[in-house]
């Protein structure tokens, strides 16, 4: 017998992918924006650096910023879709079919992961072309790290989606939560130099660990050196998922 979870899963995932592509704004936000950030910032930083500076530093943080932006835009899009679906009663309608709740949510997550991978691929291709010889990172390892981070941030997205009252607030609230998280992630200021309380708080956020892991993968220190971050991402994922199943509202 087919597992209950798979009934309708591929069909729904494919359907949601098509629907997502039909929405011009969501499509642009997911694919074009992070790429644009990468190219514009990459160029700007590249131009301002003295020629003698080690070249590897130039698109280094920018690539990670773009990768985290990809994850964040996936989360924002997920929060928006879930709140719109809830407000429009679409979740309620799907819920009263034989589709299992896990399938309904799983399909949305799958769509986000597909676009995260596509977006990352575009990023890599742009990087190869615009900054030749600089992107020496293990592409597979980097992709897995981004997906792991995305998963963890997505589970936080579910908590936000559960608490956001209306679709109108979804965009605002998710931005208000996600961008400060980005600021605290260590991408712009080293987390070690934060005041004690703020540092402790930063370590409770998935973005901080995602950035640390990506930096590790990027500079070659590898997964072994960052097992704490991997564990933290998994634990946060479990905690947020458990929390969202408690507080999630279908209508």
């Amino acid at each position: 017998m087919r597992p209950q979870f798979l009934r309708g899963f591929w069909k729904l995932t494919w359907l949601e992918t098509k629907i997502f592509v039909r929405e011009p704004m969501g499509f642009v936000g997911a694919l074009v924006m992070p790429l644009l950030v990468f190219i514009v910032f990459g160029r700007a930083f590249g131009a301002s650096k003295p020629v003698t500076a080690p070249k590897v530093d130039i698109p280094f943080n920018v690539a990670i910023l773009a990768a985290v932006l990809i994850a964040i835009s996936a989360v924002q899009s997920l929060v928006a879709i879930i709140s719109i679906y809830r407000e429009g009663g679409i979740l309620k309608r799907l819920r009263s079919t034989p589709l299992s709740p896990v399938t309904i949510m799983g399909a949305q997550v799958a769509v986000k992961l597909v676009f995260t991978v596509i977006s990352l691929t575009l990023l890599m291709l742009a990087g190869r072309r615009l900054f030749p010889g600089v992107l020496q990172v293990n592409v597979f390892s980097f992709t897995v790290a981004v997906l792991l981070g995305t998963f963890s941030i997505l589970s936080l997205g579910f908590v936000i989606a559960s608490l956001v009252p209306t679709a109108r607030f979804a965009q605002v609230i998710s931005a208000a939560v996600l961008y400060p998280m980005l600021a605290l992630s260590g991408l712009f200021f080293p987390v070690d130099r934060f005041p004690r309380a703020l540092r402790a708080f930063a370590y409770l956020l998935p973005t901080t660990h995602a950035v640390a892991l990506l930096q590790g993968v990027w500079d070659g220190s590898g997964w072994g050196a960052h097992w704490v971050n991997v564990a933290a991402l998994l634990v946060l994922f479990a905690v947020y998922t458990a929390l969202s199943t408690k507080v999630f509202r279908w209508e």
Binding site: G8, I19, Y85, G89, I90, S96, P98
Partner: protein, 304 residues
């Protein structure tokens, strides 16, 4: 006869608000049963508890011999549900929705035949957001019927539709019953209930206040009948007063209003007119409707 749906002493509250106080009812195979009442009376909550989409606080429910909560998965295969105000993805195409729904059930009807039956064949490739209100409702009905369910639940399905679209939906619903499917619907439109339902239950403040066929309810609560006719004869009012089942005869100018009660009243008036040789130029009868019954039982009209 074993009922398809049996509800006894159902109760449901949201916080301190009592949505359903105490509801008991039975729905039999092949009938269109209507739960009617104003908004906020507990219609939707009752229906959602019966569908298994809401957990009641008290009472027992059986649908096709199953418990809607415990046997939710088995029941979903045998019932079709149309929710009030639940939409679909804006940019989903009609055929895609039908295709998704078809993939979820083991035994399904042919999608082309179904779309044709509901007058949606020309809209196969249209996005959901481009459909009119009536087309959306017809699509929802199509989705509710895709697995040939034994019972269909239709919640306020013509609210917000224009009269023409409403009539089209009514004939569809009658057609569903024609195929042997039991229909459980809610409406706050008395005309809709009167046209469609074999039996109705009037619900107010979470309680069923009356239950029966529309004719029974009208007969029981509003037996009064009125005949209005025009005649040049000036002594009509006096001549009709107190005859047969006539209770009151009034005339102003050429128009006379005769009131009485019971099934024989209209026949009585016709007989008297014939016997007395009164020349009548116009004649009509006013028979109370479910709306009048509702007004009488609740003390207020139904509000949108």
């Amino acid at each position: 006869m074993i009922p398809v749906i049996a509800v006894s002493n159902l109760g449901k509250r949201y916080g301190r608000t009592v949505a359903v106080d105490d509801v008991s009812l039975e729905v039999f195979e092949g009938e269109i049963f209507g739960l009617i009442g104003p908004n906020g009376a507990g219609k939707t909550t009752t229906m959602e508890c019966v569908e298994g989409n809401r957990v009641p606080d008290k009472g027992t429910i059986s649908v096709l011999g199953l418990d809607p909560r415990r046997d939710a998965n088995a029941l979903r295969q045998r019932i079709g549900v149309q929710h009030q105000e639940a939409q679909l993805q804006k940019r989903i195409k009609v055929w895609e929705a039908v295709d998704l729904w078809r993939s979820l059930y083991p035994r399904v009807v042919d999608s082309d035949t179904l779309l044709e039956r509901l007058g949606l064949e020309a809209k196969r490739d249209a996005w959901f957001m481009t459909l009119s209100g009536g087309q959306k409702q017809r699509l929802f009905i199509a989705l509710a019927l895709i697995h040939e369910p034994e019972v269909v639940f239709l919640d306020e399905l013509t609210t917000g539709l224009d009269p023409q679209a409403r009539r089209a939906i009514w004939s569809l619903v009658t057609g569903i019953r024609g195929r042997g499917t039991t229909v459980f619907l809610t409406t706050h439109l008395m005309e809709e209930a009167e046209k469609l339902c074999d039996r109705v239950a009037i619900i107010e403040h979470g309680r069923i206040i009356e239950l029966g066929t529309p004719e029974e309810l009208v007969q029981k609560h509003c037996p009064e009948r009125t005949v209005v006719f025009t005649s040049d004869d000036t002594s009509v009012a006096e001549r009709l007063q107190g005859l047969g089942t006539v209770e009151r005869a009034e005339g102003s100018g050429a128009t006379y209003t005769i009131r009485g009660a019971g099934d024989d009243f209209v026949t009585d008036v016709i007989n008297i007119i014939a016997r007395e040789g009164i020349r009548v130029r116009g004649f009509r009868t006013e028979i109370p409707t479910l709306e009048d019954v509702f007004l009488k039982l609740t003390g207020h009209g139904i509000r949108d």
